[in-house]
């Protein structure tokens, strides 16, 4: 069983995005976080102080732990922002403004 099968999903056509330059397959409607989870990626930010990895925590846009850089724009909440064809998603280092 998987979630798509459980909900009898018939997603629209898949497309590709990149994560740190690597191509990933994405389904329409999913958030950046859901896209990354579906590819087995669970962290996409390192903290400002200790450089520790972070990913989704609250999953509903409250905690800001899942911040990520999308198409050059840092500090996007991966659990809120929908993914679009061709998106360049990058691991955010610290504040994301030093890249």
């Amino acid at each position: 069983m998987n979630p798509l099968k459980l909900a009898q999903a018939r997603p629209g056509p898949a497309f590709t995005v990149t994560f740190d330059g690597r191509e990933l397959v994405a389904l329409p409607g999913r958030t950046v976080a859901a896209t990354l989870w579906a590819s087995g990626v669970t962290s996409w930010r390192t903290t400002r102080g200790e450089g520790r990895p972070r990913g989704v925590f609250c999953g509903i846009g409250v905690c800001y732990d899942c911040l990520v850089t999308v198409n050059g724009r840092p500090n996007q909440r991966a659990c809120v922002v929908p993914v679009h064809p061709g998106d360049a998603i990058r691991t955010q280092q610290g504040t994301g403004h030093d890249d």
């Binding site: 069983m1 998987n2 979630p3 798509l4 099968k5 459980l6 909900a7 009898q8 999903a9 018939r10 997603p11 629209g12 389904l27 329409p28 409607g29 999913r30 958030t31 976080a33 859901a34 989870w37 579906a38 669970t42 962290s43 903290t47 400002r48 102080g49 200790e50 520790r52 990895p53 972070r54 990913g55 989704v56 925590f57 609250c58 999953g59 509903i60 846009g61 409250v62 905690c63 800001y64 732990d65 911040l67 996007q76 909440r77 659990c79 809120v80 922002v81 929908p82």
Partner: protein, 472 residues
């Protein structure tokens, strides 16, 4: 109902939040003569409880991930009817950051999502806050590792994105949310290695009268328990997570039994391999908008009267924002709030006999929620598990040791002083994730946080807000 035929002249109510409380309020208010602007942050109505799969995923059986689906169909169809009739406007992707009073009425200030850079303003004669809640998580060593998520977060990602965080999950903490999260993850194909709840089963026996008075809720719990059995999920009651292990991501969790005083029994520690730890210790109300309006807050929830009115004229509140009690209670409160607003904005004294059924449901469900809240308690001595190097404030990376030093060495006597000394609660989430833990470690009571805005706002938007009219 007289105003429904001439909606352009009838009063306008802004309902903030399209979860169960906000939808029930919208339907009741629209049916009884108001024009309603329903303002919500999500792309689809439903809130967290009825969070819908993204449209692009083409889910033909979304109810497989939901409970009380018939209630949702009733709310959804009612909303559609009122929108078609021109009585309700549903503003999606509107992230409300502040509500201000004007000389007559209110302005709802929102940012348009998902980018949240462009502003939008909504004018209304009155507002109804149905802002819901978010999950409380108490810290433990390793809780910042990727793979550790809130129980509600795992569920939200599953419902909305049809995706799992990993293959093997431990669901832990305390509260009625853990059961549906565990069964949901298992049904969607995750192996749930354990459901770990710190509640002591004897606590439920002691509160059995209040619980037995809600047979529908008990039956719901029994159905979840049966599903757990079917999926072969082992349940560990009166246990807690002691530590999450891993370097770059979660690899295992150590759990242990609690003694009668609520302390970890070291001899019972055991390690469970997992790539997902879904954890939660109950819910907290979203009260920022109410606080900004100057509404009275009792403890951590918005104070309301029997009609769901706050103490600020023209402001109603319903659902988890007024005290956490679940979706069915939120429906009753939302209905009452909508009815009250409809009557009062039309210049009528409301007749509570018109909502007697909702009133009875509200009373019983509030007693049930209070009993559940007592029974589902985090371990009494959870703070002992927070080592000095455990990160407590996730945003600012403030450790348990730093919070303790602020109290013992620097003399902080309240959460605000701890914050000023350590930066705990000063980051992106504004203390929503660490507030309970910081208060607990510092030995202070937990209070509402007094945030001027409900979310980060671009300076340009802030500078322009309200400049054009008669804000008070």
């Amino acid at each position: 109902m007289t105003d429904a035929s001439r909606p352009e002249t009838s009063p306008r109510l802004a309902v903030i939040g399209a979860g169960p409380a906000g939808l029930a309020a919208t339907l009741a208010a629209a049916r009884h003569g108001l024009r309603v602007t329903l303002v919500d942050a999500a792309p689809e109505a439903g809130g967290q409880f009825y969070r819908q799969p993204a449209a692009g995923l083409g889910a033909r059986r979304p109810q497989a991930l939901h409970h009380r689906w018939r209630d949702w169909e009733r709310l959804r169809d009612g909303l559609d009817r009122h929108i078609t009739a021109g009585l309700v406007v549903h503003l999606r992707d509107h992230h409300v950051w502040c509500v201000t009073r004007r000389r007559s009425g209110f302005t709802v200030h929102a940012l348009l999502g998902p980018e949240q850079e462009r502003p939008a303003e909504v004018r209304a004669d009155a507002v109804l806050l149905a802002t819901g809640g978010y999950e409380k998580v108490l810290p433990f060593p390793g809780w910042t590792l990727p793979g550790v998520v809130t129980a509600g977060g795992a569920q939200a990602m599953l419902k909305g994105g049809l995706v799992l965080p990993g293959r093997t999950a431990v669901v832990a903490g305390t509260g009625p949310l853990l059961l549906p999260v565990a069964t949901g993850l298992a049904a969607a194909g995750a192996q749930v290695a354990a459901l770990v709840d710190s509640a002591d089963p004897r606590a439920f026996v002691r509160r059995s009268p209040a619980l037995a008075a809600q047979p529908a809720k008990l039956a719901e719990g029994a159905r979840h328990a049966a599903r757990l059995l079917r999926h072969g999920v082992p349940t560990l009651v009166h246990h807690t997570v002691v530590e999450a292990h891993g370097d770059q991501r979660l690899e295992a969790a150590t759990v242990a039994a609690l003694d009668t005083a609520g302390r970890v029994r070291p001899d019972t520690r055991r390690r469970i391999g997992c790539d997902t730890l879904a954890v939660g210790h109950g819910m907290l109300p979203h009260t920022d908008l109410a606080e900004g309006l100057g509404c009275r807050i009792d403890g951590v929830a918005v104070h309301v009267d029997d009609e769901q009115r706050t103490d600020v004229p023209g402001v109603w509140a319903a659902g988890e924002a007024t005290g956490v009690g679940g979706a069915v209670l939120a429906l009753a409160e939302g209905h009452i709030a909508g009815r009250s607003a409809a009557a009062r904005l039309s210049g009528r004294e409301p007749d509570p006999r018109g909502w007697a059924g909702a009133d009875r449901a509200r009373a019983g469900l509030r007693r049930f929620a209070a009993a559940m809240d007592d029974a589902y308690a985090p371990p009494a001595h959870w703070a002992e598990q927070v080592t000095d190097d455990t990160v407590v404030c996730r945003c600012e990376e403030v450790t348990g040791g730093a919070v303790r030093r602020a109290v013992t060495e620097l003399g902080a006597g309240d959460v605000r002083t701890v914050k000023l000394l350590t930066r705990a609660g000063m980051g992106w989430c504004q203390g929503r994730m660490c507030g309970t833990a910081v208060a607990g470690l510092a030995g202070c009571p937990e209070t509402a946080a007094r945030r001027p805005f409900a979310r980060p706002v671009p300076l340009g938007v802030l500078a322009r807000a309200g400049s054009a009219d008669d804000e008070q």
